[in-house]
């Protein structure tokens, strides 16, 4: 009896392996050399750091992928929850085996591995999100999220009654610090008495823990919660206390309808379509792309009814100034927490200064919290 059982199990397992092995593919790699690939035989791979179901960062990228499919009619493949370690190299190679000609990797930690693989496969185009390395056939791209974050700060600053605003932040890296600074500058532009209290969670994705961090801020008197993680936990904490929240990544009104006012959001689709189009036309060149409000890759989601009166007009006014170049979020004078002038009147931080961890390592005046 025992032997029979184990045989059955072995057979079942073997079958399931065979089945999954046959599952994935279907397309053949386009022939090398010849003409640029047509839309039908164009396969584009996407590597995601989290699940699409996060409703946040990865979800936003996946919306971009769907936009790309719709625009160009190309075939796309994707892998979710790929760890930011050497395994990603195999994922890329598998995708190339499945015919991928363009691969988007959508998290910082993939950068070095993508660089390595890009040298091995010169015929494939690689695009890496949120890093700084490029090769002949590998570009990097990101968005000026600090612009809509500044706008969301305006909304928060106008809304707050306690003049204490909570900010649940992920890790002290330039991207997050830049966001906190931009947000705080926005808050203080309309409400000079308000302060922004920061709590670090050391997570990108832990709904319960991020909610707890928000609760700690609420207990200290914050009446608005903003965040830089990929879950709606902080917004739900705000909703439970009948105060207000600002989301991130995508419009998350449905998740906290009684708290959500707006969110700085990503819109990757147009960029993805442009890049794949360029590859198909044979005009693609390696580059570093940092698009902003003008390019439409970032924006502020529509304000809900909970947003304060006059916020809509203010946001539109500043958006117009950002677009025509007459306003830069990080233009002087800007003081740091100690009250020292970091950016002088008439100057603005350069892109290099905004991106580097050597220079974007201080908080502006009005932030309560420290960079560890």
């Amino acid at each position: 009896m025992k032997r029979l059982f184990s045989m059955v199990i072995v057979v079942v397992l073997a079958c399931s392996m065979l089945l999954t092995g046959c599952g994935g593919t279907g397309s053949t790699p386009a022939e090398k050399g010849g003409e640029p690939p047509k839309a039908e035989d164009m396969t584009v791979g996407f590597i995601y750091v989290g699940p699409i179901g996060d409703g946040g960062w990865t979800y936003a990228h996946d919306q971009g992928r769907l936009h790309l499919e719709q625009e160009l009619g190309v075939k796309t493949i994707y892998r979710e929850s790929v760890p930011e370690g050497p395994e990603v190299k195999n994922v890329m190679k598998e995708m190339i085996d499945q015919g991928a000609k363009v691969i988007f990797a959508t998290s910082f930690g993939y950068m070095d591995y993508m660089e390595e693989v890009s040298k091995e496969f010169p015929d494939v185009t690689f695009l890496h999100c949120s890093g700084y390395k490029t090769t002949e056939n590998m570009a990097n791209y990101f968005g000026r999220m600090y612009e809509p974050r500044y706008l969301s700060g305006l909304v928060a600053g106008m809304k707050s009654k306690s003049n204490k605003i909570g900010y649940v932040a992920a890790y002290p890296i330039p991207e997050v610090i830049r966001g906190i600074n931009a947000f705080t500058l926005g808050v203080r532009a309309v409400n000079p008495d308000a302060t922004v209290m920061v709590r670090w969670t050391s997570t990108w994705y832990d709904p319960a823990k991020e909610k707890e961090a928000a609760k700690a801020l609420l207990d200290e008197g914050a009446d608005i919660i903003s965040q830089h993680q990929d879950t709606a936990g902080p917004q739900q904490a705000a909703e439970e206390r009948n105060v207000w929240a600002i989301g991130y990544n995508t419009d998350s009104q449905a998740k906290a309808p009684k708290a959500y006012m707006t969110a700085p959001v990503w819109n990757w689709g147009p960029y993805y379509a442009d890049q794949v189009k360029a590859v198909m036309d044979g005009t693609w060149k390696s580059h570093s792309y940092w698009g902003g409000t003008n390019e439409g890759i970032v924006s502020l989601a529509p304000l809900t009814d909970l947003a304060p009166e006059g916020a809509q007009a203010k946001v539109e006014e500043v958006t117009a100034k950002i677009k025509d170049g007459s306003f830069h979020v990080f233009q002087g004078p800007i003081k740091d927490q100690a009250g020292e002038v970091k950016v002088e009147e008439g100057k603005a931080l350069t892109d290099q200064e905004l991106l580097s961890d050597k220079s974007m390592n201080w908080f502006v005046e009005g932030v309560e919290g420290k960079i560890e």
């Binding site: 969670t201 909610k211 700690a216």
Partner: protein, 308 residues
């Protein structure tokens, strides 16, 4: 440190408590089930799905328990009936449960719990709620939290004060001896593995129904593994699980509160504390050879009647 911190610690500890109790009852019959994370996620997704479809909190609870028990049933069949390796089977169950929850959850992305379920759980306990401090910490919570207190105490009474509980412990210590004294070993193992699965399912449901009542994939974020460590930390006792779970819950959120006081302790150090404590418990336990604090002797050992 004020009452709101301790109240938050209780909340953060509640999913851990259910999962830990589930794993305790499983390990007490000699089965090491590392599928806690998977069963929690199965409970989270099915509870959410049922809650969404029926707007009935009780059905949502039942659904979550059934899902956790279903995961445990697979594990029980593999390890008790087929006598497969328990560690491997448990790990498989975690992977299976994670996939199951993501797959089921595909259609739930962006959904939130109906209003009546979201508000259903909030309930203060009259009289007790007015005790200063204690009332705010323990008795102005939600129904799940109270269910946690009751389950832990009931499980303790069951294990230490009833005939069936004695049999459970006998099976866990030595299945051959229990068998020869007329205890139906296989039945006991199945029933308690399933009970454990149902409790893990409840732990997951707490996260998806009450704590973050909108669908978020992988909502447990590793809490199942913390529960496995907690079982050792509380030396397989349901009573101590109450203390352990709330302590781990408190440590989990301590960092956010400390940041407000400008105290320079790295969050990473605080995150390590529970595990350092667990290791210490293991070390001390093995030095003292205390019978009371030892794991069930038959833990992880498959039982072949023919080889007795």
């Amino acid at each position: 440190m004020n009452a709101s911190f301790f109240a938050a610690a209780i909340v953060a500890g509640t999913p851990l408590l259910f999962a830990t109790l589930g794993e305790i009852i499983t390990e007490r019959v000699g089965q090491l089930n590392l599928g806690v994370e998977g069963m929690m996620l199965m409970g989270a997704v099915v509870g959410f799905q049922v809650g969404l479809a029926t707007s009935n909190p009780f059905l949502a609870l039942l659904g979550a328990m059934a899902a956790g028990a279903f995961g445990a049933l697979i594990y029980a069949f593999l390890t008790v009936s087929l006598r497969a390796n328990q560690v491997v089977s448990g790990l498989t169950l975690t992977i299976f449960g994670t996939g199951f929850s993501s797959f089921m959850g595909k259609s739930l992305i962006g959904e939130i719990m109906p209003e009546n379920i979201r508000t259903f759980w909030k309930a203060d306990i009259p009289i007790l709620r007015d005790i200063p401090f204690i009332g705010k910490v323990f008795f102005q919570q939600d129904l799940f939290v109270y269910l946690g207190y009751i389950t832990a105490i009931a499980l303790g009474i069951y294990l230490y004060r009833t005939r069936a509980g004695l049999n459970v412990r006998a099976v866990g210590e030595s299945a051959p001896a229990a068998d020869s004294s007329g205890i139906h070993v296989v039945l006991y193992k199945y029933v308690h593995i399933l009970m454990g699965g149902a409790l893990c399912g409840l732990g997951g449901a707490y996260l998806s129904l009450v704590y973050v009542p909108a669908w978020q994939e992988n909502v447990t974020a590793g809490r199942g593994w913390i529960a496995v460590a907690l079982v050792i930390f509380v030396v397989w006792s349901p009573y101590k699980a109450l203390i352990g779970a709330y302590l781990f819950g408190g440590l989990d959120i301590l960092g956010f509160r400390l940041q407000g006081y400008n105290i320079k302790i790295s969050q990473y150090i605080i995150d390590m504390l529970p595990y350092i404590a667990t290791i210490l418990v293991l070390v001390v336990g093995s030095i003292r050879h205390s019978k009371e604090n030892a794991p069930p002797k038959g833990l992880g050992v498959p039982y072949f009647r023919e080889e007795r």
